[in-house]
Symmetry: C2
Subunit: 238 residues, 2 copies
Amino acid sequence: MSSLKPEQEEREKRILDAAAELIIRQGYDKTTMSDVAEEAGVSRGIVYLHFENKDKLFEALVYRETLLYAQAWLDHIEADPRGGTIGGIYRAVLYAIKSRPFMVAMMRRDRRTFGSYLHKPDNLFASMQSASFSADFFQALQEVGVIRKDVDPVVTAHIMDVLSYGLVTIGEFRQPDELPPYDVVMEAIGDMMDRLLAPEDGGNSEGGKAVIRQLAATSRAYFEQMKQAKEKKEGTES
Amino acid sequence: MSSLKPEQEEREKRILDAAAELIIRQGYDKTTMSDVAEEAGVSRGIVYLHFENKDKLFEALVYRETLLYAQAWLDHIEADPRGGTIGGIYRAVLYAIKSRPFMVAMMRRDRRTFGSYLHKPDNLFASMQSASFSADFFQALQEVGVIRKDVDPVVTAHIMDVLSYGLVTIGEFRQPDELPPYDVVMEAIGDMMDRLLAPEDGGNSEGGKAVIRQLAATSRAYFEQMKQAKEKKEGTES
């Protein structure tokens, strides 16, 4: 796929955008290759030229959306002078979540969105780690002075995860008009993180950014490896 | 039901305990009146003597479990000298949640547990407010000096809710052995609440307890009213 010509790349992007749009709107089960072609304004044949079948298309979309989510997170951190503080890092997570509805659905393994795909034995979600803060990541942040030394990294990483899952699942239990504006909540949670976890001086933002860049590079490599392993496995099977 | 003799009350309790146990284990759909009779060690006829049908039994259980949950919360607060501080109040929520698996399933409208009941048009969950911290409750806590005055009650109540939903839903995305021990998390979240929300002096615990007692009384009254309204409505229909 890396050998696509610019116009093919543009077309593939259009097809993936159309698929994301449709799957969010009407779910994986109801979305056909013809729907995708129509939404993207191309012929059915062209869609099949890019993707062998619906599952290949879907999985390419999952990979793309995960990378775009990670990129949105990273960009938000880089653009903010205080982006590498703990409040900045978590604010950027919430910002990235907000901008990518497909990722939110992925995080909560949304049944309405993914339907029968979730029951396939080798579905991508089963092998993907769910988006989460690891204790290792927290420890790295502690070492560079982003997080206070007296905080337990395992428990704190877990509580930040709990908060993320709460944010992506609360919509199932509450009407949107019952909730305060997302931006206000995002800011309040960022302030909360600073207050709870940052050292007296607010924390070493540049050190935090270096840790994040490292994490982004490692995740990208892990992801590429996983993608290739899956392609290779499928190649052997077919 | 309040006119039951002690031995009938004891038997009714046994039937409800058996039903709770079975529904948690195998779900609402698979649990029959015969299963409940067997698990409770009584005849099927006795179960029908107490409850007209499975839904009546189920709804009695939902009412009972909600009251027991609220009682567990209240008891935990009363027993703790610092129970009326914000950390104490939230620790007690987590304690009460932990001790009542049926309530956890109710909070997350668990599909495996409640199955087809969730799709009934007049199901109890649709009319019940989900367990949540209201901004009014937070304001009352601010007025008696449990929470700092400079905190926004709407946003803060929402963040506490997000955390509760995260705690009851994270089990769907993670294996139990990936999670730190619940008690440790419970303590850490309590400390976090104190650090974030309590005034310098830690807060007026007695004032907090008074607010909670008031809330418990109001909720019980609301609950009784709802129960009677439903019974009356069903009486008219039948």
